[in-house]
Protein backbone atom coordinates (compact mmCIF):
# COMPACT_ATOMS: atom_id res chain seq x y z
CA UNK A 1 0.00 0.00 0.00
CA UNK A 2 1.66 3.19 -1.19
CA UNK A 3 1.62 6.08 1.19
CA UNK A 4 1.34 9.70 0.16
CA UNK A 5 3.42 10.38 -2.92
CA UNK A 6 4.53 13.77 -4.16
CA UNK A 7 6.21 14.90 -7.35
CA UNK A 8 8.64 16.24 -8.20
CA UNK A 9 11.01 15.82 -5.23
CA UNK A 10 13.06 18.87 -6.10
CA UNK A 11 12.42 21.87 -8.30
CA UNK A 12 14.25 25.07 -9.17
CA UNK A 13 12.30 27.99 -10.58
CA UNK A 14 13.00 31.62 -11.41
CA UNK A 15 11.21 34.55 -9.81
CA UNK A 16 7.97 35.35 -11.57
CA UNK A 17 7.48 31.86 -12.93
CA UNK A 18 4.65 29.52 -12.12
CA UNK A 19 4.92 26.06 -10.59
CA UNK A 20 2.64 23.02 -10.18
CA UNK A 21 3.22 20.40 -7.51
CA UNK A 22 1.41 17.10 -7.40
CA UNK A 23 0.18 14.77 -4.68
CA UNK A 24 -1.41 11.33 -4.60
CA UNK A 25 -3.06 10.52 -1.28
CA UNK A 26 -2.73 7.32 0.68
CA UNK A 27 -5.09 4.60 -0.48
CA UNK A 28 -8.50 5.05 1.13
CA UNK A 29 -8.00 8.73 1.91
CA UNK A 30 -10.23 11.36 0.36
CA UNK A 31 -8.90 14.58 1.87
CA UNK A 32 -5.71 16.36 0.87
CA UNK A 33 -4.04 19.23 2.71
CA UNK A 34 -1.03 21.26 1.62
CA UNK A 35 1.56 22.77 3.92
CA UNK A 36 4.57 25.02 3.41
CA UNK A 37 7.60 24.41 5.60
CA UNK A 38 10.34 27.02 5.65
CA UNK A 39 13.78 25.97 6.80
CA UNK A 40 13.88 25.49 10.56
CA UNK A 41 10.15 26.06 10.99
CA UNK A 42 7.09 23.93 11.47
CA UNK A 43 4.72 23.31 8.56
CA UNK A 44 2.18 26.04 7.85
CA UNK A 45 -1.25 25.14 6.54
CA UNK A 46 -2.03 26.41 3.03
CA UNK A 47 -5.38 24.80 2.20
CA UNK A 48 -7.40 21.60 2.31
CA UNK A 49 -9.40 19.87 -0.42
CA UNK A 50 -12.29 17.50 0.00
CA UNK A 51 -14.80 16.38 -2.62
CA UNK A 52 -12.91 18.43 -5.19
CA UNK A 53 -13.53 21.66 -3.31
CA UNK A 54 -11.38 23.88 -1.14
CA UNK A 55 -12.77 23.36 2.34
CA UNK A 56 -10.38 25.39 4.43
CA UNK A 57 -7.65 27.91 3.73
CA UNK A 58 -4.77 29.29 5.72
CA UNK A 59 -3.22 32.72 5.54
CA UNK A 60 -1.71 32.50 2.07
CA UNK A 61 -2.21 34.88 -0.88
CA UNK A 62 -4.29 34.10 -3.93
CA UNK A 63 -1.10 33.27 -5.82
CA UNK A 64 -1.48 29.89 -4.14
CA UNK A 65 -4.24 27.82 -5.67
CA UNK A 66 -5.10 24.19 -5.86
CA UNK A 67 -7.22 21.51 -7.33
CA UNK A 68 -8.47 18.08 -6.39
CA UNK A 69 -9.35 15.49 -8.99
CA UNK A 70 -12.06 12.79 -8.86
CA UNK A 71 -9.43 10.19 -7.91
CA UNK A 72 -8.60 12.39 -4.85
CA UNK A 73 -5.16 13.39 -6.13
CA UNK A 74 -4.33 17.05 -5.88
CA UNK A 75 -2.23 19.83 -7.34
CA UNK A 76 -0.79 22.94 -5.77
CA UNK A 77 -0.14 25.88 -8.08
CA UNK A 78 1.89 28.93 -7.21
CA UNK A 79 1.95 31.91 -9.58
CA UNK A 80 4.37 34.82 -9.78
CA UNK A 81 6.96 33.06 -7.65
CA UNK A 82 8.88 35.06 -5.06
CA UNK A 83 12.20 34.24 -3.45
CA UNK A 84 10.29 33.80 -0.20
CA UNK A 85 8.29 30.94 -1.69
CA UNK A 86 11.38 28.75 -1.43
CA UNK A 87 10.42 25.99 0.98
CA UNK A 88 9.49 22.35 1.40
CA UNK A 89 5.91 21.83 0.26
CA UNK A 90 4.18 18.99 2.02
CA UNK A 91 1.02 17.17 1.13
CA UNK A 92 -0.95 15.35 3.81
CA UNK A 93 -3.85 13.00 3.28
CA UNK A 94 -6.56 11.87 5.65
CA UNK A 95 -10.07 10.52 5.61
CA UNK A 96 -13.09 12.75 6.00
CA UNK A 97 -12.54 16.49 6.12
CA UNK A 98 -14.88 17.03 9.04
CA UNK A 99 -13.45 14.46 11.41
CA UNK A 100 -10.13 14.27 13.14
CA UNK A 101 -8.21 11.29 11.91
CA UNK A 102 -4.58 10.55 11.32
CA UNK A 103 -3.00 12.75 8.68
CA UNK A 104 -0.14 11.16 6.77
CA UNK A 105 2.48 13.27 5.03
CA UNK A 106 4.43 12.74 1.86
CA UNK A 107 8.15 13.33 1.53
CA UNK A 108 7.58 16.80 0.19
CA UNK A 109 8.72 18.83 -2.80
CA UNK A 110 11.71 21.08 -2.22
CA UNK A 111 11.10 24.26 -4.19
CA UNK A 112 13.94 26.70 -4.71
CA UNK A 113 13.20 30.08 -6.30
CA UNK A 114 16.20 31.92 -7.71
Amino acid sequence: DAGVTQSPTHLIKTRGQQVTLRCSPKSGHDTVSWYQQALGQGPQFIFQYYEEEERQRGNFPDRFSGHQFPNYSSELNVNALLLGDSALYLCASSWGAGTNTEAFFGQGTRLTVV
Binding site: Q48, N100, E102, A103, F105, G106
Partner: protein
Protein backbone atom coordinates in the same frame (compact mmCIF):
# COMPACT_ATOMS: atom_id res chain seq x y z
CA UNK B 1 1.62 34.41 17.09
CA UNK B 2 1.47 30.65 16.89
CA UNK B 3 -1.04 28.62 18.82
CA UNK B 4 1.33 25.75 19.41
CA UNK B 5 4.82 26.07 20.77
CA UNK B 6 7.52 23.96 22.38
CA UNK B 7 9.37 24.75 25.54
CA UNK B 8 12.83 23.77 24.33
CA UNK B 9 14.23 23.98 20.81
CA UNK B 10 16.78 21.22 21.48
CA UNK B 11 17.07 18.19 23.75
CA UNK B 12 20.14 15.99 24.10
CA UNK B 13 19.94 12.58 25.78
CA UNK B 14 21.99 9.44 26.13
CA UNK B 15 20.92 6.20 24.48
CA UNK B 16 18.68 4.25 26.82
CA UNK B 17 17.44 7.31 28.70
CA UNK B 18 13.81 8.35 28.69
CA UNK B 19 13.04 11.55 26.78
CA UNK B 20 10.31 14.04 27.47
CA UNK B 21 9.38 16.64 24.87
CA UNK B 22 6.97 19.35 25.90
CA UNK B 23 4.50 21.49 24.04
CA UNK B 24 2.20 24.33 25.12
CA UNK B 25 -0.89 25.26 23.18
CA UNK B 26 -2.99 28.38 23.52
CA UNK B 27 -6.30 27.47 21.86
CA UNK B 28 -8.55 25.97 24.52
CA UNK B 29 -11.01 24.91 21.81
CA UNK B 30 -8.52 22.50 20.25
CA UNK B 31 -9.82 18.96 20.46
CA UNK B 32 -7.23 16.87 18.68
CA UNK B 33 -3.46 16.73 18.97
CA UNK B 34 -0.78 14.85 17.09
CA UNK B 35 2.94 14.32 17.57
CA UNK B 36 5.08 14.05 14.45
CA UNK B 37 8.70 13.05 13.94
CA UNK B 38 10.60 14.58 11.06
CA UNK B 39 13.98 13.31 9.95
CA UNK B 40 16.24 15.37 7.75
CA UNK B 41 14.99 15.53 4.17
CA UNK B 42 11.76 13.70 4.93
CA UNK B 43 8.16 14.57 5.57
CA UNK B 44 6.66 14.46 9.09
CA UNK B 45 5.93 10.95 10.30
CA UNK B 46 2.89 10.31 12.48
CA UNK B 47 3.83 9.08 15.97
CA UNK B 48 0.75 9.23 18.14
CA UNK B 49 -2.42 11.26 18.56
CA UNK B 50 -4.77 12.10 21.40
CA UNK B 51 -8.24 13.60 21.59
CA UNK B 52 -9.30 16.15 24.14
CA UNK B 53 -11.49 13.67 26.02
CA UNK B 54 -8.38 11.72 27.03
CA UNK B 55 -5.48 12.52 29.39
CA UNK B 56 -3.05 9.86 28.33
CA UNK B 57 -2.43 7.56 25.43
CA UNK B 58 0.28 4.96 24.99
CA UNK B 59 1.91 3.55 21.93
CA UNK B 60 4.99 1.48 21.35
CA UNK B 61 7.71 3.14 23.49
CA UNK B 62 5.82 6.43 23.37
CA UNK B 63 3.27 8.04 25.65
CA UNK B 64 1.41 11.29 25.10
CA UNK B 65 0.02 13.22 28.05
CA UNK B 66 -2.54 15.98 27.73
CA UNK B 67 -3.22 18.49 30.48
CA UNK B 68 -6.12 20.64 29.38
CA UNK B 69 -6.09 22.70 32.57
CA UNK B 70 -2.72 24.25 31.71
CA UNK B 71 -2.94 23.54 27.98
CA UNK B 72 0.13 21.38 27.93
CA UNK B 73 1.06 18.37 25.83
CA UNK B 74 4.05 16.10 26.27
CA UNK B 75 5.63 13.20 24.44
CA UNK B 76 7.55 10.63 26.42
CA UNK B 77 9.91 8.28 24.62
CA UNK B 78 11.11 5.30 26.61
CA UNK B 79 14.60 3.84 26.16
CA UNK B 80 15.58 6.43 23.58
CA UNK B 81 17.57 5.10 20.65
CA UNK B 82 19.87 6.83 18.14
CA UNK B 83 17.18 6.28 15.51
CA UNK B 84 14.91 8.56 17.53
CA UNK B 85 17.12 11.54 16.66
CA UNK B 86 14.92 13.93 14.69
CA UNK B 87 12.82 17.05 14.99
CA UNK B 88 9.59 16.52 16.89
CA UNK B 89 6.51 18.65 16.30
CA UNK B 90 3.27 18.80 18.15
CA UNK B 91 0.25 19.87 16.13
CA UNK B 92 -3.29 20.79 17.09
CA UNK B 93 -6.60 21.03 15.37
CA UNK B 94 -8.51 24.07 16.67
CA UNK B 95 -11.88 22.34 16.34
CA UNK B 96 -12.83 24.05 13.12
CA UNK B 97 -15.79 22.20 11.69
CA UNK B 98 -14.89 23.36 8.20
CA UNK B 99 -11.86 21.16 8.06
CA UNK B 100 -9.04 19.50 9.88
CA UNK B 101 -6.14 21.87 9.31
CA UNK B 102 -3.29 21.34 11.73
CA UNK B 103 -1.35 24.10 13.44
CA UNK B 104 2.27 23.21 14.12
CA UNK B 105 4.81 24.60 16.50
CA UNK B 106 8.45 25.16 15.67
CA UNK B 107 9.68 21.80 16.83
CA UNK B 108 12.19 20.31 19.24
CA UNK B 109 15.36 18.74 17.91
CA UNK B 110 16.15 15.53 19.79
CA UNK B 111 19.75 14.36 19.68
CA UNK B 112 20.55 10.89 21.02
CA UNK B 113 24.15 10.00 21.68
CA UNK B 114 25.36 6.42 22.16
Amino acid sequence: GENVGLHLPTLSVQEGDNSIINCAYSNSASDYFIWYKQESGKGPQFIIDIRSNMDKRQGQRVTVLLNKTVKHLSLQIAATQPGDSAVYFCAENPNNQAGTALIFGKGTTLSVSS
